[in-house]
Amino acid sequence: MKLEVHLEGVSGSKTRVVELQREGERFQITLDGQPVNADAIEIAPNTISVILDGQSFVIHATPSLDDKLKLQCGPHEFSAEIVDPRVWRGRKQGALEAEGRQQITAPMPGKVIRLLVAAGDSVEAGQGLVVVEAMKMQNEIKSPKNGKVERLLVKEGQNVNAGDVLAWVE
């Protein structure tokens, strides 16, 4: 099976092509067309041991809500999007769109306790937009860019879930 893996991590974003061919209990693996000396096995649910040229790695895989696979390898984290040619899925268009316009989401469930800006306000990168309280702590959700608040989608007192869109900054 040949897969495209879009990986994002410490050294930026890359697309790799992986081919896994089952051979008995193991797989023959090629990476970007080159055979690699790798032995990969899932040793516990979502825990994968990879021995690559003798180096031992353990990778923890967590499917995330945005349809990506979060990978933890020791202190390093990656986010992977996997394209399986056997399953046709329209590619996301979000990546391009997001360049100019940023969607601000709640990183965790909580309650909106204060709005710090109004729609139409100019904001700077790092400026607080909304205060969300969770686990007795108040947390400012900040603007990721200089721009203008296009829309605010929440009200004070409103409960939000992780991933809920709070605002758009253009």
Binding site: L7, R16, A38, I82, D84
Partner: protein, 505 residues
Amino acid sequence: MFKKILIANRGEIAVRILRACRELGIKNVAVFSEVDRTAPHVRLADEAYSIGPAASRESYLRIDKLMDVARRTGCDALHPGYGFLAENPALPRACSDAGMTFIGPSAEAMEMMGAKTSGKQLARRSEVPTVPGTDEAIENPEEAQSLARSMGYPVLLKAIAGGGGKGMRVVPTDAEFAGAWRDAASEALNAFGDPRLFLEKYLIGPRHIEVQIFADAHGRVVSLGERECSIQRRHQKVVEEAPSPVVTPELRKKMGEAAVRLARAGGYTNAGTVEFLVDADLNFYFLEVNTRLQVEHPVTEQVTGLDLVKLQIAIAAGHRLPFAWEAITPRGNAMEVRLYAEDPDNNFFPSPGKILSRHAPTGPGIRLDEGVYEGYTVPLEYDPLLSKLIAWGNSREETIARLRRALDEYTITGIRTNVSLFRRILAEPEFLRGEFHTKWLDELLARPSPPATPPRPGTEDASVIAAALWHTTRANSAANVNRTTSAEPSRWKSQGRRQQLDRTP
């Protein structure tokens, strides 16, 4: 000794206390709020009773409900843990009214020593150094300046009516005094309509070092040595160690004696902590007393070998502090990190949720005081402390090496944790040299992150291969599902996600 103890707390500290009860052969009773039904302290306790909704003030802070459970279950003592009601004098009073023993100091000692102002007054009366300065306004600038000279610069001017930094000035040298006084007074007048000022010695880069004391009901008070707690993020301790890398045997003796003097003066019993600020010249100044067990008590346990919770219980039961304990000499070095469900890459935003998988470090020199398990959902209503990871070593270097090793082994998926914060702190040369103060971590975090350590060669390739393997095995099983079910589209993603998210029904 007690027969049954009510543990009026939750999380790792409730687990810590019930383990001590179990080792002493004392029955224990846990209480839990609605969202804590699946919490570890409920799981491990002998008995467990619901005391109401998630909000603390409707459950863990309700003295009436605690007393009701205690009465119904026949408890003869109550341990408050830390936080919640632990420093509220109404709790020991309620215990006393109910004929139960409160495992901690008396309500009176709590009031006298726990409150900042009365604690400070007690310190002065017991000749325990406090930060030099005046508590009351000085009308005459010349008088103030001569006082500043006698304390030594820098000094801090503060508005009597102040708050929020208004009317506050650090004065580095005598030459700048008059101007700073004028500016501060005028700012105070503008801000509060009251120009009066007082002054305090300004401590540069102070350390937070605290002394663990124990006092029995028979007049014996001992110090069990100090803990270094200067590594704080926004006034919240995150790394603690014992002994402090800067405390000399002489200073230890002086601080210990001061702490014991204070406890005696306050008629204190049971465990308490006297917090001090220590300046660069190793002068120490009383800060406040915590009239309870500290979060960071394990580092003292690891170097002294004592079980502080058992000691609290024994003292509350009227036992004497054994003589031998006064002569305890700390061995080696212990360090604790507080593992929180929070996202260090996103301004330490709380990250509650379900722990999908977990691999905890073990082995020589490693202790874990846990408040979670695999499959547990960390609730959003409380402090997101997951566990405390404590390392012990023969030297500070060995302790840090073990802590690093343990952090490398520690993995948790499903929620974010602050593990990377500790990796960063434990790699900082200043930290390794023991050169830091209470603002050090905030300053460190204000600086741009250092370039990420490049991963070991192959890490990225291995991760790509792991992702592909993960996908392949799920894609195949999803295909199998498709064959046996209807033609309804079934994607591996929802399949994989369900496996992850729904492992607990």
